[in-house]
């Protein structure tokens, strides 16, 4: 049957295209990680991790990026904690108090999803206008505030996703602690919930530590270790960015090492998040 043969050929062709497409994606990830490792590994040293750049981050040939590493950790931790202060109550409120008002909650979810897509540079520009308005200079604090604003929709929505998967009245019942459910099922559900929330927080932290555009205007950059909230602070993404554009080879090497360190941090967070969610999924209640 001739039609049959043409059809089979068509199907085979497209199946081939499909396999190629999926492979391209896997290959792209491999290529990215490989190139970062290849350039970054030779430049990585104990120095990198523990010293600050000597002779200026743009021109100095020696030293490391300890300042950027610490700065980023402070920044991301501060922003994540602050965002949690907003994120956890709001998600709880959405899932407990507003549980019955389906339409309202879904509208809120929709708005949050739209907000998720706002680029970080817009937050950066906004953060900058806030700084001018309040007369602040580039500082760690300004950066923390800006990044907090950036990750709030992400935090709320991902925790919300976790809480959403909890069956109906269980949320309300456990919220008022004298629940009618048996002790064990409450504990199991709590474990499941907590692990999901922890994963959400970890992932928000990952976004906070990796973003450059939101800190560009607001946090400034220095060669020194972070000393106070009101001083400009170095961050890892900016360290990479600035050092990449330096004409001096040693500085560029530092950039690759910094990229590798940031990549390690992100990979570490991803793996931990995966492990947590896989381990605790086993206890998932299915009702």
């Amino acid at each position: 049957m001739k039609i049959q043969k043409i059809r089979n050929a068509e199907e085979m062709f497209f199946r081939g295209v499909m396999i190629v497409s999926t492979s391209v994606i896997g290959f792209a990830l491999f290529l990215i990680l490989w190139s970062i490792f290849k350039r970054g590994l030779p430049a990585l040293s104990w120095q990198m991790l523990t010293e600050t750049p000597k002779g200026g981050f743009y021109f100095g040939k020696e030293g490391g990026i300890a300042n950027a590493i610490m700065g980023s950790l402070y920044l991301a931790s501060g922003a994540t904690l602050l965002a949690m202060v907003f994120g956890i109550p709001v998600s709880l409120y959405m899932n407990v108090n507003l549980h019955k008002r389906k339409k309202l909650v879904n509208t809120i979810r929709f708005m949050l999803d739209v907000m998720w897509g706002i680029p970080s540079i817009v937050y950066g520009a906004f953060g900058f206008t806030l700084m001018i308005y309040f007369g602040m200079h580039s500082s760690l604090l300004a950066g923390i505030i800006t990044v907090t604003l950036f990750i709030i929709p992400i935090m709320i929505r991902s925790i919300d996703e976790v809480l959403m998967s909890v069956p109906g009245g269980l949320m309300e019942a456990s919220y008022s602690l004298g629940s009618t459910q048996s002790e064990t099922s409450y504990k199991v559900f709590l474990k499941q919930c907590v692990s999901g929330v922890v994963t959400a927080i970890l992932l928000s932290f990952g976004r906070a530590i990796g973003d450059a555009a939101s800190v560009l205007f607001t946090t400034g950059y220095t060669d020194h270790m972070p000393t106070s909230l009101m001083q400009p602070t170095a961050t890892l993404p900016l360290a990479i960015f600035f050092q990449m554009s330096s004409p001096i080879a040693e500085v560029k090497e530092r950039a690759y090492a910094s990229a590798l360190i940031l990549t390690f941090i992100i990979l570490f967070i991803s793996i931990v998040a995966r492990i947590i969610s896989i381990r605790f999924q086993k206890h998932k209640i299915k009702i």
């Binding site: 706002i118 540079i121 937050y123 520009a125 206008t129 555009a213 960015f241 990449m244 990229a259």
Partner: protein, 281 residues
């Protein structure tokens, strides 16, 4: 708690207001549309035409979608219709990790691998000479960045189509591929378009990675092998000079405002379409 909720909901409004307020200095002197469509960007003499940057942005984002779109579509079909379960198990973390890689890392990869690639392998194909810092490089890097995002949405869309529909179509004597061509793609069509819309919006706002590879030359590009200067890159590159030149900061805030509005619009419409489509199924 309610206060926190209200605050979170109002955030984009606050941002829009804040940016607009800052931009109003400039808007008092020129009209909004005038600025958007003016090709004249000479900040030192007070000319702030945003047109070249908007066009550059369009170039990179559309190129990114052209590259990423088919890859995501075919991969989504593959993963939901054909692939064995172990493939899905492998791809899941791949997509998640790709989605989590920070923009600046993509930028480094772009500079180290993509820019030379464009310069040495792609440009000669078209008989052109370039340093590699081009729209093409921006488009490629951007494409890889939006792939996990678009792919996840497409997978969700395809998974939402009831399996029984595939079953009844197969019972009519159709092959797997016919089911996909005639039935699944038709049903998923609005979802596919929206996924692409969301990908476009994501690409539009991407700053650092593109900035590092696109050349940052202020002109209206006429080809993908020319350098470009997308809107977010404009904002990011010039924040330093912002305060020293009059009205420069207003112009950049205006640019950020335009960016915000475009992204929100695209997001809103795309998500609305997907929402309606998923409800129907």
């Amino acid at each position: 708690m309610v206060a926190a909720l209200v605050f979170s909901m109002l955030l984009p409004v606050l941002i829009a207001v804040g940016l607009y307020y800052k931009a109003s200095g400039l808007l008092n002197q020129h009209s909004f549309l005038g600025l958007v469509f003016s090709k004249d960007w000479r900040p030192l003499s007070g000319h702030f035409g945003l047109y070249p940057f908007i066009i550059s942005s369009l170039w990179v984002t559309v190129l990114a979608l052209i590259i990423a779109g088919p890859i995501c579509l075919f991969s989504a079909i593959h993963l939901t219709q054909y692939a064995k379960s172990y493939v899905l198990k492998v791809m899941h973390p791949v997509i998640d990790i790709l989605a989590g890689i920070p923009s600046v890392i993509f930028g480094v990869w772009g500079v180290v691998i993509i820019v030379p690639f464009v310069s040495q392998h792609i440009a000669p194909l078209f008989g052109k000479e370039t340093s590699g810092y081009t729209i093409m490089s921006g488009g490629i890097v951007l494409a890889i960045m939006i792939i996990p995002f678009v792919l996840n949405i497409l997978i969700e869309v395809f998974k939402a189509i009831p399996e029984e529909l595939t079953e009844v179509t197969l019972s009519l004597g159709a092959t797997r591929w016919m089911v996909i061509k005639h039935i699944l793609l038709r049903k998923a069509y609005p979802g596919i378009v929206s996924a692409f819309g969301l990908g476009l919006s994501r690409a539009f706002g991407e700053t650092i990675a593109v900035l590092m590879v696109v050349g940052n030359v202020t002109l209206i590009p006429h080809g993908a092998l020319q350098p470009g200067y997308p809107l977010p890159a404009l904002i990011a590159n010039n924040y330093g000079e912002m305060l020293s030149v009059p009205m420069y900061d207003s112009a950049l805030m205006l640019a950020a405002f335009v960016l915000l509005i475009i992204v929100i619009l695209f997001n809103f419409v795309s998500r609305m379409v997907i929402h309606r489509m998923l409800k129907k199924m």
